[in-house]
Symmetry: C2
Subunit: 321 residues, 2 copies
């Protein structure tokens, strides 16, 4: 399975949790996500979405039917097994391209957790309500966003706020409700957990706001939890051996690295030997309209994934994996 | 003209500036806003709005026609003059209610300015982009929001962020664009200007972000500018005298105060003698579903505004105003 591009569309569960569309299929195949739940996920509206009535939100199943992609092959590692899983992807980061390396042998994927944070204060008039009488959910949220970044940096992790909504959404009203997404990533599951624990405490302190007579409150919801994954040694070996056979100067042009992003391979690795291959992308850009991979890098990546699969098959045949 | 309730709906100009619906009429009457511009304002969608197609956004003129409120009396201080303007309003703040006072004699209205802030960074993947490679428009905006509050507090002013939008709006994408509203208020026009000057410098520093290799940029647009207004001495006198005649204990139950909010009276005061009367509201709440004024306070306020108009007319007849 090779995949050279990636959208960042999201789908919404009945409870309002958000999931990345691109890794739902592998989640169902790997057993971490039920088929019914996947089918019922609804499209998420963003600033970029056309405005259509809320009742018309399309489910994943409806979209698959509409586009003719609702197949009849069971999506399960039990009924549609694979011997191993290799995945080719752009790096989505700057390391390969800036060091002029050709292939990343991916040995692991970092942990990440997605949270939906809900800060509740009280609507009030912006011109007549002194700061000490405000329960300003936006001010509290802004402080939390800054704190999330600081705490993540201290722990060598990443924190990102990608979605934010303030209600009631009026220039001259102090927002009584703000919700925002928080994406925390780290090299180990434990590090992400430590950042979360720390931030839960800090967010509570910010919401309480001792300088105001009116506190806010804050609630957390975990929308997605992807523990750190180490890929399979046999698969990693196949990728490395293939890369060494394909690139002109293996010593300088191959890099062992871990994946910062979530991938289908995280789901498949729970059921079958798995690893990944990275190729460079322009300026390390991803989730951006200018995401780009040269035809040459695509071809190099395709050669490596093909050879890796053939090597793995040969080893299976020889009984050495 | 008495007005006892207030929505906080907003209207959008062609250039994207936002205006409060409730004071557009007096702005046109007072000559600070052209009729054509007012008619062409479009409704603003908020989190609370029903989702309908963008092309269906209603203009103010269409809404007036639909509801039968598009009249034929010219809206202008020239062709439809008034001798004076009195306005009755809930205080929208806690001072009267917490001191058990009945009437606020409003002598002035504070200055306020509404800004639309646009922070531009660069979309990037949340899992693969290290902090030093990010131009994170949301992180920059969050720091600006916190800074706005701090700077306003130092200057004895108010600052509020009521609307925020992050694009592209994906959990696992560092936002490359964030826009937010900023409402700054102060007792004098000069104070608001000083906060603005200070914040323009601070926002530039935040956007530049010396700890990252990738700066953001920030642009300001002034959407609405309401300089501080002192109401007319003759009108204030009429309101005070009326209040003294109406409330049981004038010494303890009347308060001289300035208005924190914008009102029609700010526009009318540019053309005719104007002042305002405040009555208490429950918990000082406004722009909130629980905004409430007791029937007794409504009646007291109505008596004061009626007497003030009669007093003013009598003084005109006597030639004393």
């Amino acid at each position: 399975m090779a995949k050279m591009s990636r959208t960042n569309a999201l789908l919404l569960s009945e409870e309002g949790a958000r999931f990345p569309m691109t890794i739902i299929g592998s989640g169902v195949w790997g057993g971490s996500f039920s088929l019914d739940r996947a089918y019922s996920l609804e499209e998420v509206r963003t600033a970029a979405s056309p405005h259509v009535a809320d009742s018309n939100r399309e489910t994943l199943k409806e979209a698959l039917m509409k586009t003719g992609y609702l197949g009849d092959i069971p999506c399960s590692y039990r009924s549609t097994p694979m011997a191993a899983h290799f995945e080719l992807h752009i790096e989505q980061g700057p390391h390969l391209v800036s060091s002029k390396q050709h292939i990343g042998v991916v040995t692991a994927a970092q942990a990440y957790r997605w949270y939906h944070i809900r800060v509740t204060g009280s609507d009030a008039h912006s011109g007549t309500t002194a700061f000490e009488h405000r329960a300003d959910a936006m001010y509290a949220s802004a402080q939390m966003m800054v704190k999330a970044r600081e705490v993540a940096a201290i722990h060598g992790c990443l924190a990102t706020v990608g979605i934010v909504q303030a209600s009631p959404g009026s220039i001259n009203t102090v927002p009584g409700l703000v919700t925002f997404s928080l994406d925390v990533r780290g090299s180990t599951t434990d590090l992400v957990q430590r950042v979360e624990t720390y931030l839960r405490e800090e967010f509570n302190l910010i919401a309480r706001n001792d300088r105001s007579r009116k506190p806010c409150s804050v609630e957390w919801r975990v929308d997605f939890d992807s523990p750190a994954v180490e890929f399979h040694k046999d698969c990693i070996d196949c990728v490395r051996e293939s890369a060494e056979a394909v690139v002109p100067d293996p010593k300088s042009q191959i890099r062992h690295m871990i994946s910062g992003a979530g991938h289908d391979s995280v789901s498949t690795s729970k059921q079958v030997p798995t690893s990944m291959i990275f190729v460079p992308c322009r300026d390390g850009l991803s989730h951006h309209p200018q995401e780009f991979c040269t035809p040459q890098s695509c071809a190099t990546g395709a050669s490596v994934i093909l050879q890796a699969a053939v090597r793995y098959d040969r080893k299976r045949f020889m009984g050495s994996v």
